[in-house]
């Protein structure tokens, strides 16, 4: 009967079938995008390999030139949409995760630091965070993407700036609560180094709300990246992410060539919705107020 917290968490998680399926989908998408170079019929970033004669073909088109079956059609440059989606997912996940991890580290450090220090520094940091949070993330990201220019790391920087504040506030809230508890006071009065107390005692207790914020924010980063790319402020055109694929397909949509925009969009939604569903279940499980 003695089960680790992870095993116990999983046994509760398992009850929600939808969340389990969502988790499986996320895992599948991640694996598929990782192995994309080996399973796609075409490298969509290799401009030399694209045939303009194969451009804008509907789903199921078999190219007489390359012999490739384009299950989801081709885009305006003759890219296989399926290959482009898998490569695009790769980019989306990479950017979403990097931004999520960096924003997490930055925000959590800042938030716990502020809670631990207390006093004026805490007030100053949190005031700034609140100020930033009152600004819509998309606007910040938009301006930053415009300021920094195109490129993968510029984009990550814009996303991190737009999102670290959520982590900081959550971490600060949880850490400030923990900080005021007796056991932390007790731990601080021992010869333990303060940073040990923060790492060993305060931080682990802040994890549940942070995990919830993290799932939501990774999904948000992916959506935001796609939005910025759609607006032409994201990645360079040579390596289209999902957002840019959709943007490129927009002009063809009005003439009924839906597949260039719609399929990448569906891939994007399935990924984001699955992450959100997993996040929902995690949140319900970690919310003590809903436990009966």
């Amino acid at each position: 009967m003695i089960a680790g917290p992870v095993a116990q968490f999983w046994s509760e998680f398992r009850v929600n079938r939808v969340a389990v399926v969502a988790l499986a989908i996320v895992a599948t998408i991640v694996v598929l995008s990782l192995v994309a170079p080996w399973i796609t019929p075409q490298n969509p970033y290799d401009m030399a390999g694209l045939r303009l004669a194969d451009a804008r073909r509907p789903p199921g088109f078999v190219s007489p030139r390359t012999g490739i079956t384009h299950w989801l059609g081709t885009d305006g440059q003759g890219r296989d949409v399926l290959s482009a989606i898998l490569y695009g997912l790769r980019v989306s996940i990479e950017i979403g995760l990097s931004a999520g991890i960096i924003a997490f580290s930055l925000g959590v450090t800042l938030g716990t630091f502020a809670a631990y220090l207390g006093g004026r520094i805490e007030a100053l940091i949190m005031r700034f965070i609140d100020l930033q949070l009152s600004f819509p993330a998309i606007l910040l990201a938009l301006v930053l993407a415009a300021v920094l220019g195109q490129g993968k790391w510029q984009l990550v920087a814009a996303l991190v700036t737009a999102q670290y504040a959520y982590f900081a506030r959550t971490a600060h809230g949880a850490a400030a609560t923990e900080r005021s508890k007796d056991y932390v006071e007790a731990a601080l009065s021992t010869p333990l180094k303060p940073h040990v107390v923060v790492l060993r005692h305060i931080l682990p207790n802040c994890m549940p709300p942070l995990i919830v914020v993290a799932t939501v924010q990774v999904a948000n980063s992916i959506a935001l990246e796609a939005t910025l790319s759609f607006l032409g402020l994201g990645l360079p055109v040579s390596e289209p992410s999902l957002g840019m694929l959709i943007a490129n397909g927009f002009q063809y949509l009005l003439s009924g060539r839906y597949w260039i925009s719609i399929y990448p969009g569906i891939a994007l939604i399935v990924l984001i919705a699955s992450i959100n569903l997993v996040g929902d279940q995690v949140r319900d499980q970690l919310n003590p107020r809903l436990r009966r």
């Binding site: 009152s134 606007l139 796609a226 959709i246 927009f250 919705a273 959100n276």
Partner: protein, 324 residues
């Protein structure tokens, strides 16, 4: 109460000053606008003349001081691209955006809150699951893609609604409104729906979570024990209790919806400020960007101030604290 408002107003002024510095620094780091303004094969003389005209030869701090000085007088400078003063340019585009945003946020709230309350009241019912499904979708589907799908379905496939632009408007108080004409509503419907979906999802979640928690409280049990009907409990007790977070989010979301209108306006070529800012980012039209950001910041602070005051009006427990 008055002291509370004055204190908040002072805070707002300080915040505006900080933002003006940040915005100025941020925006003036964007590329070199002169490259965009003049064709690359222009003579050196034309180039320098343009730089002088736009004050780009001054040191940054001087440019900032000039900028603040002009701001205070309501002069946001001239658009590099349009050559006209920025403030009237933005103000002329503002009604379209405000109208779109208002219709979207109000619609999302009016539909989302009752549905969310129902989903929280009967969380295991089929209808509740359907509502939550739609809300998850509204949350997960990027706004721009929904816009594309809406255009594809309603404009391309069925051809029943226009794909873009504003349609007929009618003047009221000297401003053009789409909501006053049938044709205007036709044009407004898709972009407003597009913009509303995310807010709808958010309202549903908020109302559901609030209702679920409140239905478990003793307040509801006590009302039930007094024989009050479920409808009364939902309308009088639950709605009043969830109103506080909903008003907060309504206000905050109104601001962020203004920001998201950027995306919707781009897709539906809605002639609002959102489209203007994207165009100006792409053309590095600095004065427009600065003015837009300052106005949005101003707007946000106004909204936050209003929320704080409404909050106090809604939650009697806070009145004591506000008074002291």
């Amino acid at each position: 109460m008055l002291g509370f408002i004055i204190q908040r107003l002072l805070q707002a002024v300080v915040v505006m000053m900080i933002i003006s510095v940040l915005v100025f620094c941020g925006v003036y780091a964007v590329g070199n606008p002169i490259d965009v303004l003049i064709s690359p094969d222009a003579t050196q003389q034309i180039r320098e003349e343009a730089i002088r005209t736009y004050g780009l030869d001054q040191p940054l701090w001087k440019q900032y001081l000039d900028f603040v000085g002009r701001l205070v007088q309501g002069d946001f400078g001239r658009s590099f691209v349009f050559g006209s003063p920025v403030l009237p340019l933005i103000l002329s585009r503002l009604p379209a955006t405000l109208e779109l945003t208002l219709v979207a946020v109000v619609g999302a709230t009016l539909v989302g809150v009752p549905l969310g309350m129902y989903a929280g009241y009967k969380p295991d019912s089929l209808a509740a699951r359907a509502i939550m499904g739609i809300s998850i979708l509204g949350f997960s589907v990027p706004t721009f893609w929904i816009g594309l799908v809406l255009i594809f379905i309603f404009a391309v496939q069925f051809g029943i609604l226009p794909a873009g632009s504003r349609g007929e408007t009618r003047e009221l108080f000297g401003i053009s409104w789409s909501v006053l004409t049938a044709n205007g509503w036709q044009h407004l419907f898709l972009p407003a729906l597009n913009l509303a979906l995310f807010k709808f999802a958010m309202m549903v979640r908020l109302a559901r979570a609030g209702t679920r928690e409140i239905m478990l409280t003793d307040t509801v049990k006590f009302a039930r024990a007094a024989g009050e009907s479920e409808a009364t409990i939902l309308r009088r007790h639950v709605l009043r209790l969830i109103a506080i977070p909903i008003v907060t989010v309504f206000g905050l979301e109104f601001g962020s919806t203004l920001a998201f209108a950027v995306v919707t306006e781009t897709i539906f070529s809605w002639p609002g400020v959102g489209k203007l800012i994207i165009d100006s980012i792409n053309t590095l039209d600095r004065p427009v960007m600065v003015a837009y950001l300052m106005l949005v910041a101003f707007f946000f602070i106004l909204v936050n101030l209003t929320i704080d005051i409404v909050y106090v009006a809604l939650d009697p427990r806070l009145r004591l604290r506000a008074a002291s």
